[in-house]
Amino acid sequence: MNGVRVMVVDDHPMWREGVARDLTEAGHEVVASCGEGRQAVRVIGAARPDLVVLDLQLPDISGVQVIRGLRAERPDVRVLMLSASGEQQGVLDAVKAGATGYLLKSAGLAEFLDAVRRTAAGEPVFTPGLAGLVLGEYRRLAAVREQAPDGTQDSAPRLTERETEVLRLVAKGMSYKQIAERLGLSHRTVQNHVQNTLGKLQLHNRVELTRYAIERGLDE
């Protein structure tokens, strides 16, 4: 398989170099590496990466702001986020902003390279922890919908029963292959279900942002 054009964004020089070396050794091309979010947004146009490996905790701007900036410059770029602390709300916000891969920094090298390959190929890379966060977010949206006056929250996304089932199994640590076997589905179908759960959240997030902008008159 062909190497992936990767940009590494992390404020720790030692870590940045280590990741870049691992990626190069595995046959990928590291087209840029930076230590700050604003700098990453500035150079992404020229560097044209397919994938950004992004540390969620940067010194200048939040992970969500970096992802929005990156995707505004380059809408098709995939984002694999890494976080050292497993910080929960931040990871969820980043997913809603458009990141499709998530890994703890403590993940092993093989796991990391696998995540790079899969995220670049458009597969959602979930940790069990991320699946738990996404499940929780859908439940939160459902609770908001129940308490809101009729109709005002109908645009909030919901999970199908199958999607819930799949997501619960991911959260309990099962691989797509194991889930496919247990539910009698194809590997591809399981993957699609997981992808849909993220897609709906991201779409909802964009709709909400637009609505907010219109309400504030920012569209004029």
Partner: protein, 378 residues
């Protein structure tokens, strides 16, 4: 319990100062009244002595009440006793004629001093009690209940009740404020620590683990140890919510309780928002989860995954492992033979909470335990 930084009773200090100021001011009024009326008293000289006694006692109480340790019963009773004694001496010093002429009694407003002291010290009830004692003595010494005297007694009673009430409020408000400040400081310190640990230690430990992964022997072992510490530290700084004081009935975040079980081999999946449960329920559910994880470790160990789900009307914790597993018959068999074991203990805990524990297993494919607890009154 978070202990106060200031001395106990420190919040009352402004109130005690106010009482001392009141005593001095009312003493000044006493001097004015005595100077004006002295020529009509039976024993003007003794009246002067009495005023000196009042001045001395004002000084004693101002100093005495300023120290928390001295604000006990001896001083309070002595305070009340001195005022009652002065009141009792009044008819003799002033003489019947002066009293019958309607002159104000010598102590005038000064006699409210102990009432205020009792109210600040012990709240409404003590304030009212002192007011009744002083008021009754005052009326008794006059020998007749003029409307002015009754007015004075009732005003004193009201002052006792109101000041007592305000004193309690002030102390409670002060304590709450201090608690809030302390909790905020502790939280800020914890956040700062979390940031520092994240920026330095976690990154280095993760790096050591990653780079050492492909080394053999001792170096590889060191890398693995670094990884374990990294996981433990990460849970320590992210797994616990902010302190919320020590209200024993306040809901507890289940996520925070389960955070301590997460490690390199146990992954915890939970919502980003807290999962509030009554403290007893949260503790039992966490203990049952711990028992299930112990069971995993005992039977071959390996990895385990914990999932927390908040469905609004119920909370579910699932524990899954990929160990040896067992045939479903074996569970019933063990129970029939009276070998209760861990699974039974878990089911017992959940039954006590009005919940259920579902245990399923396939030989060779691991075990899944699902603990569900209903939320009452939500």
């Amino acid at each position: 319990m978070v202990t106060g930084v200031s001395a106990p009773g420190g919040f009352e200090l402004p109130l005690w100062r106010a009482v001392a100021v009141f005593r001095v001011a009312s003493l000044a009024y006493v001097c004015v009244v005595v100077l004006r009326d002295a020529d009509r008293y039976a024993h003007p000289l003794l009246a002067g002595v009495l005023v000196l006694v009042m001045a001395a006692w004002t000084a004693v109480t101002a100093i005495g009440y300023a120290t928390p340790a001295r604000r006990g019963w001896p001083l309070l009773l002595a305070d009340l006793g001195v005022v009652v004694a002065i009141l009792l001496a009044t008819p003799w010093v002033m003489g019947r004629a002066a009293l019958d002429a309607g002159l104000p009694t010598m102590a005038v407003a000064w006699l409210s001093g102990p009432v205020l002291a009792w109210a600040v010290c012990g709240g409404r009830r003590r304030g009212a009690l002192a007011a009744v004692v002083v008021g009754a003595t005052d009326l008794a010494t006059r020998g007749m209940a003029t409307p002015t005297a009754i007015n004075g007694a009732i005003l004193m009673l009201l002052a006792g009740v109101v000041v007592g009430h305000v004193a309690r409020l002030t102390v409670t408000a002060g304590e709450r404020l201090q608690r809030a400040v302390e909790i905020e400081a502790a939280n800020r310190e914890r956040e700062r620590l979390a940031r520092d640990i994240h920026d330095s230690v976690l990154q280095v430990l993760a790096l050591v683990q990653r780079r050492g992964e492909r080394l053999d022997g001792e170096a590889g072992e060191l890398a693995r140890l670094a990884g374990e510490q990294e996981a433990a530290l990460r849970m320590l700084i992210s797994g616990t919510g902010p302190l919320s004081g020590d209200d024993v009935d306040a809901p507890v975040d289940l996520n925070a309780l389960l955070g301590r079980y997460a490690s390199g081999s146990v992954s915890l999946s939970a919502p980003a928002t807290p999962v509030p449960l009554p403290p007893a329920v949260a503790r039992e559910l966490a203990a049952a989860t711990g028992a299930a994880l112990d069971n995993v470790a005992r039977h071959g160990g390996g990895r385990a995954w914990v999932l927390v789900e908040d469905e609004g009307t119920a909370v579910t914790v699932s524990i899954r492992d990929e160990g040896a597993g067992f045939a479903p018959e074996r569970l019933a068999e063990a129970a029939a033979q009276g070998r209760l074991g861990v699974t039974h203990a878990i089911q017992g805990r959940l039954a006590d909470l009005g919940g259920t524990a579902r245990i399923s297993s396939t030989p060779g494919a691991g075990t899944e335990v699902e603990l569900t607890v209903p939320r009452r009154g939500s």
